[in-house]
């Protein structure tokens, strides 16, 4: 079934949400219009992405050039396995979140719902643009666009706390992207003569020939620190600060779109700008690996200390992003497999956890973990989903996290990074300690310790559906990981492994 050519599909994915946003502006007065359009757009995006996946083969090049911004640099899109992976996860989860948001916003009677859906859609454009960017410049354009479009979502409530959180969010992301990322991009342009994502690495040839290893060595930290959305220490503060946003925003953007956009960018840079051959030669690679490792442990420790559920999940995300960053920097076959798979698996797992947090908020108005003992009796479904999500993050069967963590561990072993293996193992244990107690205490605490007395509000159906869907996918990906695995392997082939 090919109604649309691949090239048109690619452009449609990026442009459609913009039209959705404009349409929502025109139909402000109509009841339910923006929600319908949100769901509708989400459906179209998922279908088109699936079709692209169905037709995908490494042999044919799908590329579309839009406009030349600077001589030699065009805004262009192309279909790559990594991009497809990201787009699949993002579009599916956008649809799920759109469904979730309907219930959530209605239950809490949030204001300015149209504006919310509009910026939600625009953020999707940015995510699609990042996924399918053909060169670093296009990626940078959509990267900044993502920061700009998610900002109004973070400060949606307009309250003092939201503005303060928004300020930190914007400051950190802009600071890193302007000061370091842009500098690294210009540096790459200068050394490499182009910004295209090249299989095998753009800098592969010039570096090997002229021995400009030290210059490239400087570029790597600039990229790692500059891609602030990957939340590598010390530029992680924006993520907990962004938790002031409404839960659908936290769920989609800060568990899926923004942070995944960040590590996706890092993966692309490591694989297609540096290339695996160059990366292992760089002296700064080791330092960046240690930084990622430190980031993982630091965030895990911080997570342990948080009582606010969303904050704990935020630090958990930072820690998990460290895993993916580490995989990207290790850049050998297993590590890349692990990192790409973890991109998807973590997205589904984390979004389940955030959805549950939102459901708890709607039902009981609670945000602190200490208040949630015994909640399992009142909200069994939610807590079971939470449990599945936790397993995914920790990496225990029967949840899908096992596969990705397995490959990451293998990658670290292949590279003989023993310290990092220790970090991975220790951090998994920490994951258990900061995630599992929540569902366990919810179900198995003695009756006397139950603090939830008043009757809970009904959790809207749409939210329940979304939670069910995402947790099911976590389980499904464990039992049937082949399609995910195939796509990840395609990434490997393309990057020249």
């Amino acid at each position: 079934m090919t109604y649309l050519s691949d090239i048109s599909s690619l452009q449609l994915l990026v442009i459609l949400p913009v039209f959705a946003c404009l349409a929502m502006a025109c139909t402000r007065k109509l009841k339910n219009a923006c929600e319908l359009m949100s769901i509708g757009t989400g459906l179209v995006l998922v279908l088109v992405t699936c079709q692209l996946w169905h037709n995908f083969s490494l042999a044919n090049q799908v590329k579309v050039e839009w406009i030349e911004l600077i001589p030699g640099l065009t805004l262009s899109l192309s279909l790559t396995p990594l991009g497809l992976l990201f787009a699949l996860a993002a579009s599916t989860l956008w649809l799920t979140t759109a469904l979730y948001a309907i219930g959530y916003l209605r239950a809490l009677q949030e204001h300015s719902q149209t504006r919310f859906y509009q910026f939600f859609a625009l953020a999707m454009t940015a995510v699609m643009g990042i996924a399918f960017a053909d060169n670093l410049l296009t990626l940078y354009v959509f990267y900044e666009l993502l920061t700009l479009t998610t900002f109004p979502l973070v400060v949606h409530s307009g309250k003092e706390t939201a503005v303060r959180g928004g300020r930190v969010y914007f400051a950190f992301l802009l600071f890193t992207s302007v000061l370091f990322f842009l500098l690294a991009i210009v540096g790459t342009w200068f050394i490499g003569g182009s910004l295209d994502f090249t299989p095998g690495g753009l800098l592969n040839r010039p570096i090997m020939n002229t021995g400009a290893l030290s210059a490239a060595s400087l570029l790597l930290p600039l990229f790692v620190l500059g891609i602030g959305k990957a939340a590598v220490f010390p530029f992680y503060q924006w993520l907990p600060a962004a938790m002031v946003a409404p839960t659908p925003v936290s769920a989609l953007l800060h568990a899926v779109a923004v942070v995944k956009g960040g590590v996706f960018t890092l993966l692309k840079v490591c694989l297609y700008i540096f290339g695996t051959d160059v990366l292992v030669e760089l002296p700064s690679q080791q330092f960046m690996l240690y930084l990622a490792g430190f980031s993982i442990l630091f965030a895990s420790f911080m997570a342990l200390q948080q009582d606010n559920l969303k904050k704990r999940l935020a630090y958990s995300t930072i820690s998990q992003l460290g895993y993916i960053s580490m995989g990207a920097l290790l850049a050998n076959g297993s590590a890349i497999l692990g990192a790409s798979m973890h991109l998807v698996v973590h997205a589904f797992g984390k979004i389940t956890l955030f959805f549950c947090a939102g459901a708890i908020l709607v039902a009981t108005n609670k945000t602190l973990i200490s208040d949630m003992t015994g909640l399992g009796r009142q909200m069994p479904f939610t807590m079971v989903a939470f449990f599945i999500g936790s397993l995914t993050i920790i990496g225990l069967p029967p949840a899908a996290g096992l596969w990705s963590k397995w490959y990451l561990l293998q990658g670290a072993m292949t590279a003989e990074q023993w310290l990092l293996i220790l970090v991975l193992a220790f951090s998994s244990i920490l994951n258990i300690f900061y995630l599992l107690p929540i569902p366990i205490r919810a179900f198995f605490s003695p009756a006397a310790a139950i603090t939830v007395k008043p009757p809970v509000n009904r959790v809207p159906t749409s939210m329940v559906l979304s939670i069910a869907f995402s947790s099911t996918v976590c389980l499904v990906l464990f039992f049937l990981p082949e399609s995910l695995f195939q796509l990840a392997q395609a990434i490997l082939i393309r990057s020249g492994q």
Partner: protein, 492 residues
């Protein structure tokens, strides 16, 4: 007709200015002035396309041939600048009807248009002339009219600002006059084309060095290079809103044009960069200007002061790029001439909208204005993005070339400072955004309506131009590239 265009470009506004006095109704005066500026824009566009196709346009005044007579010689640089000046003048006059109607007393409005047209004529004259003394005369015509325009501001501080600008500007102009005299002494010619040949073979004496220095300092006074910038913030702040728009977009650009002519056409880049340690001077002052003025802008309470200091910082960027002495750097300077005119034009026009409704541009007074005047504040946000240098805006293109230029010179730390300047700009844009969108609405602002269309349309024309030329960069990039190559004497 085409061969007469260079002189028509100057004569039409010059003659139109006193003609305004014969028209009785202010509305008709405005209409007349607008038509004249549109004519000027048309002329400059025709000239630009002609110069792009066939090369230099030459016109000898009174039929007297150079080097005895005064000639107008238009190459790509002149044409480019004339389009910038004429286009901004058009947009300013479009918005002037409402804005000036509000800010200047009825009896004086005709005089405003007279002076504005004189200023336009002066600036266009500076840009098209090929004779150094003629340059001085037109420069002073433009300067005198801008002193008058600034003094028309409502606040009495406008008078002091105007007088300060007068004293400093005349100082600068007189330095340039001394430079002209010294150069005449050495070569006996006042024609720029002629001088470029003669000065190359002139003996390397102190006179040559002194002449260059006087030219340099004189133009730096006029273009407000840090630390010779102190006249600018007050002049832009207390002038009437439309005057701020026009001057912010054009006055310093004209001075930069004069500097470019002096460095590249008169003395030649070889000489210029090696007699004075021009690279070091421009780099140091540029960096200092960017950092110091951006920081000062962050702490200002008056929106116009913020953007005035921001303008000084942007001029410092242009000088920094000029100091790099390579093609990318010169391209960045030329690009930023155009881009900054668009950015600051849009910002100051949005401020004109706010002034029209609010009668004030203090930061504390715009609390909650983002919801009452959505289009105006959105214009400030987008133009602010351009100032910061976010992609898809013109500001990004200028920043890119500046960064490229610093990499070409292996001055990577400079690149870091350039980017840091962007972040400082983000801070003061953020202050405005936070006040407008996230502060509670004051009782004063509750009944404020959106600015009238007559003011919004020109503002958004410039804002959309910011976005358009940031995406379709062919116009500015091709002209800048060719001009840079021509000035540096590099084959295309």
């Amino acid at each position: 007709m085409n061969s007469q265009l260079p002189i028509l470009l100057v004569i039409v506004p010059l003659l139109a200015a006193p003609l305004c006095l014969f028209i009785k109704k202010p509305t008709l005066v405005w209409l007349f002035a607008s038509i004249v500026s549109v004519l000027a824009l048309l002329f400059s566009l025709i000239i630009l396309s002609q110069v792009w196709e066939t090369g230099e346009l030459v016109y000898s005044l009174g039929g007297w041939q150079a080097p005895i007579g005064i000639e107008y010689r238009i190459d790509l640089l002149n044409a480019y600048l004339s389009v910038i000046v004429a286009a901004l003048a058009c947009i300013c006059l479009l918005a002037a009807y409402k804005s000036i109607g509000e800010e200047i007393k009825k009896g004086k409005q005709t005089l405003f248009y007279v002076t504005f047209l004189l200023c336009l004529a002066g600036m266009l004259g500076v840009v098209v002339t090929g004779d150094v003394f003629n340059l001085f005369v037109f420069m002073e015509i433009a300067a005198l009219s801008s002193y008058v325009l600034i003094a028309m501001g409502k606040n009495r501080k406008a008078l002091i600002a105007s007088l300060t600008y007068l004293l400093v500007g005349t100082l600068g102009a007189t330095f340039i006059l001394i430079g002209i005299g010294l150069v005449y002494m050495l070569t006996g010619s006042l024609n720029m084309q002629d001088l470029s040949v003669l000065l190359l073979s002139a003996p390397q004496s102190n006179t040559l060095f002194t002449a260059f220095t006087f030219f340099f300092v004189g133009t730096c006074l006029k273009l407000a290079l840090f630390p010779l910038h102190w006249w600018l913030p007050n002049a832009y702040t207390y002038a009437p809103s439309i005057v701020s728009v026009f001057l912010a977009a054009t006055a310093t650009k004209i001075a930069i044009y004069i500097l470019l002519r002096v460095i590249f056409s008169l003395f030649g880049s070889e000489f210029s960069y090696h007699t004075l340690p021009l690279q070091n001077i421009l780099m140091t002052l540029g960096l200092a200007g960017i950092l110091v003025c951006s920081v000062i802008a962050i702490f200002q309470q008056d929106l116009k002061q913020i953007f005035a200091y921001s303008s000084v910082a942007q001029v410092a960027y242009m000088m920094l790029a000029l100091g790099m002495n390579n093609i990318s750097g010169l391209m960045a300077t030329l690009l930023h001439l155009f881009n900054h005119a668009l950015m600051k034009g849009a910002l100051f026009l949005a401020l004109a909208c706010i002034m029209y409704r609010l009668k004030s541009v203090q930061l504390s007074d715009i609390a909650g204005l983002g919801w009452q005047m959505p289009w105006t504040m959105a214009a400030i946000v987008i133009a602010g993005f351009s100032l910061i240098g976010l992609p898809l805006t013109v500001g990004f293109i200028s920043k890119w070339y500046m960064l490229l230029a610093s990499f070409e010179n292996a001055w990577q730390p400079i690149a870091l400072v350039i980017l840091f300047g962007s972040l400082l700009a983000a801070v003061y844009i953020w202050r405005i955004v936070e006040k407008a969108y996230f502060s509670p609405l004051t009782t004063n602002n509750q009944h404020i309506k959106e600015a009238p269309l007559a003011l919004l349309v020109p503002t958004w024309l410039l804002v959309l131009a910011n976005l358009y030329f940031g995406i379709d960069t062919r116009f500015s990039l091709s002209i800048s590239l060719h001009t840079a190559q021509m000035l540096l004497g590099v084959a295309p």
